[in-house]
Amino acid sequence: MNAARVLLAEDDADHAFFTARAFRDAHGADVEMHTVRDGAEALDYLHQRGRYADAPRPHLIVLDLKMPKVDGLEVLAQIKGDEELRTIPTVVLSSSDRPQDVADSYDRHANSYVTKPASLTGLREGVAGLAKYWLDVATLPNGAAS
């Protein structure tokens, strides 16, 4: 069985580190984490441009909202406006709990919105929940995961 591929777009290297670690802790070795640092990189990755020409298509996208260059909402809008990409489940993982951010994300067809927990334990539990649901429970298109 192929490993589940997760694209994590997160500008904070530390948070990216802990989020990726939490995914691996929850799902073990058969999760392949690909991390990008801003919205433009995320789009390059998804459209297989530049150094991401050979990047594999992810099974799940985890998107931060506040990112340099192209922000998360814009990336989300582009993903969900693209016939090729819109079937990839996209989860917003943001430290913002502003109702407007939540509404804007669902407006752009986010598959779910998760507020980044305020503690590491919380983050680990939250990510474990995400990993469990999207990589174990849910059936994803293109025959990924379980």
């Binding site: 530390d14 580190f17 802990f18 109702p99 503690s119």
Partner: protein
């Protein structure tokens, strides 16, 4: 008999003289056709009365006949002068005025052309009767035209002016009646002669009243205007903007002062409100005022337009047509109103200033809250990383640390966690009041029971209970729960002993609101610190000593303030030696079934 008649004519002469003096003085101030005509009326009456002193023995012969003819010529100008006064005040048209002047010319010509009257007792030829009828008819026509015109011209004027005009109109009618009666009863009895003389006096008094109004009568006449004005004045006291002030006073002023037009002009010469004037007319008036020095008294801008200076700007009134004759009243009234408008405008300006400062303070407060919110939010993120790496360090490299190393790692961790709590509380504090919906009914009893149950799990030795019944309230579930949880946790944490007794109860506030009490029998808070511990970051123990972040009570206070209440800290509950009573004072608005406010509680206690 003659004594009575003499007395009557003396009174008449004096009255006429007094009015003539008043009108003469006004004539020197302001020459207008109306004042001239009024002066003429009284001059004629005074002349006629005075002429009796030089009456010749035989008025039908020699110079006596000339005297009589001249006297009649003077006398017949009287009703015409009344018509002229009426015309000057706008009560009759030019055409009617010209017709009446022609009638007067006819009377004078006929009088001069007719032969001397036959002596008394001699048979009277037919022409004498015809002449008498002609003069009486002309007099009556002129008097009635004047009376009707005066009465009509008074309509719509201020009450005092209206009454003055009516007094003149009645005077004209009564004088006419006097003349007709005296002609009809040439050979009258004494009683009839006295009655006619008194009737003449009445007409003179009515004329005089129009020009010399006694203060008491003036007050009586003005009552109606004063009622309208005082209601506008009450409006002025509650006006909160300049526009309100203008809208309250300008229309009333326009109607009370008779001219039907008024305006409020601002300090910059801008018309703020006009009534009875077009925008252009009002602006033209305002332009005239622009460079005019502001004086204390009411000034005449153009004939018929009065202006009272305000602290910044002008109150302008188109005075009634009768202002040239009766202008003083209007000027006094306008001056008085201007003073009140000034006061109202000052109050408005203070009020607006107050509103501006309040808005500025609110905006500054909002900015501060936004800053607090975003700073605490941004601080959270690096701290998660710090804690995360600490965790990783401990798990993966903990074994490599020796000596005091593990202790230092522990201290870093404790402080980072403490900082995380601080930030969480700051964020919570900044959130209270943000996006909070108006509330739905909440079963406070149930919330209190759940809070107490949850707190019991963390403090098994403590005795926690809800005493009595807590009524349902209009508060957000999250906030009410947070309030009770913080208060109960606070009571346990700061009690200084494990077996503390904490009670949650409610009572009615004297104003109909609700008091929520959380009491403990712990060590208590010394009276001098009670005020301080309600402030942000105030604690009685050192940081990290387990006494919290110092924001729990501040958050509770904020929650209470958000619904219009407050939080107070008191001493030991009844029956306990030590302890604290924290009371959330909630306003009547949070109660679902209103409880009547207990009036005079203190008094009734004193009586008992």
């Amino acid at each position: 008999m003659d004594v009575v008649l003499d007395a009557v004519s003396t009174v008449e002469a004096l009255l006429c003289l007094a009015v003539a003096v008043v009108l003469g003085r006004r004539w020197t101030q302001q020459r207008s056709p109306a004042t001239a005509s009024a002066l003429g009326v009284f001059a004629v009456v005074a002349l006629v009365i005075a002429s009796s002193a030089v009456q010749p023995d035989d008025p039908t012969r020699g110079w006596g006949a000339v005297y009589t003819e001249v006297l009649v010529c003077v006398l017949v100008t009287l009703p015409y002068l009344l018509v002229r006064l009426t015309w000057a005040l706008g009560g009759v048209s030019d055409r009617v005025h010209r017709a009446m002047a022609a009638l007067l010319a006819g009377e004078v010509l006929v009088t001069l052309a007719s032969p001397p009257l036959p002596p008394e007792g001699a048979p009277r030829p037919g022409w004498v009767l015809a002449y008498t009828v002609f003069v009486l008819a002309a007099w009556s026509a002129q008097s009635l035209v004047a009376a009707h015109g005066l009465w009509r011209a008074g309509r719509g004027e201020s009450a005092v002016v209206r009454h003055r005009m009516r007094s003149l109109a009645l005077g004209a009618v009564v004088m006419n009646l006097t003349l007709v009666l005296s002609s009809a009863t040439a050979e009258a009895s004494d009683v009839a002669a006295v009655s006619i003389a008194l009737l003449g006096l009445v007409s003179i008094v009515l004329f005089a009243l129009a020009f010399l109004v006694p203060p008491s009568l003036r007050l009586l006449w003005r009552q109606q205007d004063l009622t309208a004005l005082s209601s506008a004045e009450r409006g002025l006291m509650t006006a909160t903007t300049r526009a309100d002030v203008a809208a309250t006073i300008v229309p009333v002023l326009a109607s009370v002062l008779g001219g039907g037009a008024a305006a409020l002009v601002g300090a910059d010469g801008e018309v703020e409100r006009a009534a009875g004037l077009s925008r252009a007319q009002a602006q033209a008036l305002a332009d005239r005022l622009r460079d005019r020095p502001q004086a204390d008294d009411v000034q005449q801008v153009v004939p018929g337009v009065l202006a009272a200076a305000l602290d910044g700007g002008w109150l302008v009134v188109q005075a009634g047509r009768l202002a040239p004759v009766f202008g003083d009243d209007e000027a006094v009234l306008l001056g008085r109103v201007a003073t009140l408008v000034d006061l109202a405008l000052q109050r408005v300006s203070l009020f607006e200033q107050e509103c501006r400062s309040r808005r500025a303070a609110e905006a500054a407060n909002d900015d501060l809250e936004t800053l607090l919110h975003s700073v605490s939010h941004d601080l959270r993120s690096p701290l998660i990383s710090v804690l995360g790496y600490l965790d990783v360090l401990r798990q993966e490299h903990g074994a490599q640390l020796t000596g005091a190393g593990p202790h230092y790692l522990e201290r870093i961790s404790v402080n980072a966690v403490y900082m995380q709590h601080l930030i969480a509380d700051l964020l919570e504090l900044s959130r209270i009041g943000r996006n909070e919906d108006p509330t739905t009914p909440l079963e406070l009893q149930q919330v209190a029971r759940q809070v107490v149950e949850a707190a019991s799990l963390g403090a098994p030795a403590a005795s926690l209970q809800v005493v009595g019944t807590l009524p349902p309230v209009l508060m957000g579930d999250v906030r009410a729960r947070q309030l009770l949880t913080n208060l109960v946790d606070n009571a346990i944490t700061h009690s200084g002993r494990d077996d503390v007794q904490v009670t949650v109860s409610a009572s009615d506030a004297p104003d109909g609101g609700l008091l929520l009490h959380v009491c403990d029998d712990g060590v208590g808070v010394p009276a001098e610190y009670r005020e301080r511990v309600l402030r942000v970051f105030e604690r009685l123990g050192p940081p990290g000593s387990g006494s919290g972040t110092g924001m729990g009570l501040a958050i509770c206070k904020r929650i209470c303030e958000q619904v219009g209440g407050t939080l107070t800290l008191g001493g030991p509950p009844r029956g306990a030696a030590t302890g604290t009573t924290v009371t959330a004072v909630l306003p009547p608005a949070v109660r679902i079934s209103p409880v009547p406010a207990q009036r005079g509680t203190a008094d009734s206690q004193e009586l008992v």
